[in-house]
């Protein structure tokens, strides 16, 4: 009897905590559906170089490390560039507005070069890729929110010809 009451209470507590945590995760999912671990995963500003070939990749704050998704995008870009050998591209590196201007110029350059290096390992000749950093000067989203900043931390592959 005492035991079963104990079990019942435990069960209730467990049930309650499950319901609560479900609520919590649902909320969290809603807010961060376009950001994962500080990296933008949405498609709002993304354009396409060709069918299925996204033009941009996104970075975490202060980072230039390529995510799994970024590497996937870049491999598709590389395949497209290998197929269209007359096309040259400019990689434009960008940062969010939450950093000092001069450092961001360097960071944008580092991001674009991370993309360039990856394209090169997948067979795109370096003379077909040029790099420019805009630092924080050319955001794509003018908001001041974590979501806007995540969209702005990017490297965009732009056709140069």
């Amino acid at each position: 009897m005492i035991l079963s009451k104990f079990y019942r209470n435990t069960f209730l507590v467990l049930l309650l905590s499950l319901v609560l945590s479900a609520c919590a995760t649902q909320k969290a999912v809603k807010i961060d559906s376009k950001i994962q671990g500080d990296v933008y995963t949405g498609t709002d500003s993304v354009k396409y170089l060709a069918d299925g070939v996204k033009d941009r990749i996104f970075f975490a704050t202060n980072e230039s490390v390529l995510t799994t998704a970024s590497r996937d995008t870049l491999r598709k870009q590389a395949a497209w560039l290998r197929k269209n050998s007359d096309i040259t591209v400019v990689l434009e590196g960008h940062c969010d507005e939450r950093g000092t201007r001069e450092y961001n110029l360097a960071l944008g350059e580092r991001r674009a070069n991370a993309a360039k290096d990856y394209l090169m390992t997948y067979g795109v000749a370096s003379d077909r890729i040029s790099v420019i950093s805009y630092g924080k000067e050319r955001p794509v989203d003018s908001g001041s929110s974590p979501l806007a900043w995540s969209k702005n931390r990017r490297s965009v592959t732009v056709r140069a010809n």
Partner: protein, 444 residues
Amino acid sequence: MKNILFLIFLLVIFFAKSSFALIEIDITRGNLTPLPVAVSPLHVESKSSEVLKEIKVGSEISKIIETNLLRSGLFNPLEKDAFVQKPDIAHLKPRFEDWKLIKAQALITGKVNITNDKLRVEFRLWDVLAAKEMMALAFTTVPNNWRRVAHIISDKVYKRLTGEEGYFDTRIIYVSEAGPKTQRIKKLAIMDQDGANTKYLTLGNELVLTPRFNPTNQMVTYMSFFRNLPRVYLLDIETGVQEVVGDFPGMTFAPRFSPDGKKIIMSFAKGGNSDIFTMDLETREVEKITEHPAIDTSPSYSPNGKYICFNSDRSGLQQIYIMRKDGSDVKRITFGQGIYGTPVWSPRGDLIAFTKMYQNTFYIGVMRTDGSGERLLTENYYQEAPSWSPNGRVLIFYRETKSGSQGEGYSATLWSIDLTGYNERLIETLTDASDPSWSSLLTN
């Protein structure tokens, strides 16, 4: 610019008798009571009053002096309504009891006339309590130079009463901004320290950033995205001639002059790595100062030219480092919480100003050159890029506001703050503004 600079100021010191400083301001303390000072409108002598403009010049000059003194935070200019004595009589011999009555401790008087098409401005500084003249000077210049005369008088008064050089006869170079955040139009702009005489030096066709004066204030080094090739440029303010600095196969940025004006120090980015280089403007010789796979940027020389402070993320995140001018003996000096950027060496040599980012807040601060004694002067949503007044007492920097999802509510403005952390003030500009840089004193 040159013809303004080289207009001869005939500096006539009359009544050269030595006077002892009886009133003095101790500016080492932070929150002191400003010294009450009466700035009498300058008397316009009747024989030259056919030039109507001059009548205004007398009171305009006194207004500029008042504004300068007020904005320094060290002086409290008194209401002119309370002045009893007429400007011309006060200038000859003030009735000190009258000025004492309105609690003035210092009094500035003067007169203006035009002789042979030249503007002659005479001023005197009086110690009201001691009933003595402290200083008397006269300047002769072309009439439309009257604003500068007002700034020079302000500097003389400031120096006489504080014992330190002033910073009023100076200019600010900055980036004028307009348009939506995603497509901002930026132009180089120059103005007097008090916001007057704004001139644009570029048209806004290309993005321009981070202008900085050379020691003689005739040249500016800045970064431009002309033809989508982001490079460091050199601009002669007088002639408007621009040239790329060096022949680098990649982006150059974050330029500053060496204290002797002979070199430009800057970052050069290639292959994802930014290092610091110098270029000698005469020999065009390029020297690599840092060599590290991390980002090295925002270099700034010590005033004696022997050291360089800079920003690097070689420890993982942005921190401030110092090294010898040849790049040897690199030492990290910031170890506090948060990350640090934009170090700038004070013209006095004893401090480094910086931007600090911590928990999504931006601070402007100062510390000693070994990183000790960090003091944060002001915090805000976004601010960065401090630049020192030539006397090392005031910092100018820029702020950005948080914007809504469509960029609404966004602004960029210039601000100044005392080294003490007091006296924070908006510096009004005709447009939005960023990347300010303070000139040295124009007259020396």
